[in-house]
């Protein structure tokens, strides 16, 4: 797979490097309505405040996939959209309206596989209080520097 927008090369990064953090705007009700329509996940606990009160989530909660989308933005900004080979997350906590999510990541491995120079790493998303929303891992390819 080509990686047209890669802005850094394999040689530029090291195990232990942190990815530049990404802090998102506060999560809004309108954003969850837009995300429901875009993604096709119309579970009302993400859009209808009455359901949230009924099931005891303390109001509506964000789609977990929206938070994974924030982390995806972090990764795609770092390696480019088509350079990600694997991306997985575990959902750890609910995100409420007004929460400010910060995504971060660390490179844990550099190696070659399938003829590509690859990095692997860990990622997470947490709110303004440091409460973890998702944790995950990724594998991506970076181009080698031409000498």
């Amino acid at each position: 797979m080509a990686t047209p927008t890669a802005t850094r090369s394999y040689e530029d990064v090291n195990v232990g490097d942190a990815l530049p953090t990404l802090t998102k705007d506060p999560v809004t009700h309108l954003q969850l309505v837009r995300y429901a329509g875009a993604s096709g996940d119309f579970n009302p606990l993400h859009t209808d405040p009455k359901i949230g009160e009924m099931i005891g989530t303390g109001g509506i909660i964000a789609h977990g996939m929206l938070i994974m989308g924030f982390v995806g933005e972090l990764l795609s900004d770092y390696v480019g959209p088509q350079a990600i080979r694997k991306f997985g997350v575990r959902f750890k906590g609910m995100t409420h309206l007004g929460d400010v999510i910060t995504c971060s990541g660390t490179i844990t491995e550099k190696y070659e596989a399938d003829g590509e120079a690859r990095i692997a790493g860990t990622v997470q998303a947490a709110d303004q209080n440091g409460d973890i929303k998702v944790t995950g891992t990724f594998v991506a390819t970076l181009p080698r520097r031409h000498v």
Binding site: M1, A2, P4, T5, K24, D25, Q31, R34, Y35, G37, A38, S39, G40, D41, G64, M65, L66, M68, G69, F70, V71, G72, E73, L75, S76, D77, P81, Q82, I84, R85, K86, F87, G88, V89, R90, F91
Partner: protein, 150 residues
């Protein structure tokens, strides 16, 4: 409690046609302003054939493409109203572009029932979907783990 004899069962394949406007819409909702997701011209200027998919675009393939998603889960004995999303994983095998027609086949690959602390049991189920494009090329594998509280 789900029916453990269903582990290994696959469901009827579904198709999804990848659309540029839906990639725009999803990344706009996320607030990802990377121009390559919002304009074909911007994407081509960066060397892409067309607007590339964003990392979590595959969620649309399942929710919009798999019209039997709810029915498939109900068939496994899952109470769809009590599902929590536990894990999501993507393995990107080849580029996916607007105009591609993907065919997804979902299989229940793992499942177990656990006793929770309050005496309630919960089911933990993992479904894998393998996608091929219109050239029958494998392009994407996804794994979704859901927790169903009884």
């Amino acid at each position: 409690m789900f029916d453990t004899s269903k582990i290994g069962q696959s469901f009827a394949p579904f198709t999804y046609e990848v659309q540029r406007n839906k990639i725009n819409e999803l990344t706009a909702a996320i607030g990802d302003k990377n121009p390559v997701y919002h304009s074909r011209e911007a994407a081509q200027a960066e060397g892409f054939t067309d607007v590339p998919i964003s990392p979590t675009t595959p969620t649309m393939f399942s929710f919009w493409g798999n019209r039997q998603r709810g029915a498939s889960m109900a068939d496994l004995g899952i109470n769809v109203a009590r599902i929590l999303h536990g894990e999501e994983e993507y393995e990107y095998l080849a580029p996916i572009y607007p105009g591609d027609t993907l065919t997804g086949t979902t299989t229940l690959i793992d499942g177990k029932t656990r006793q929770g602390s309050g005496g309630h049991s919960m089911d933990i189920l993992t479904m894998e979907t393998r996608y091929v494009n219109q050239h029958n090329q494998a392009v994407l594998n996804t794994r979704t783990t859901v927790v169903v509280r009884e």
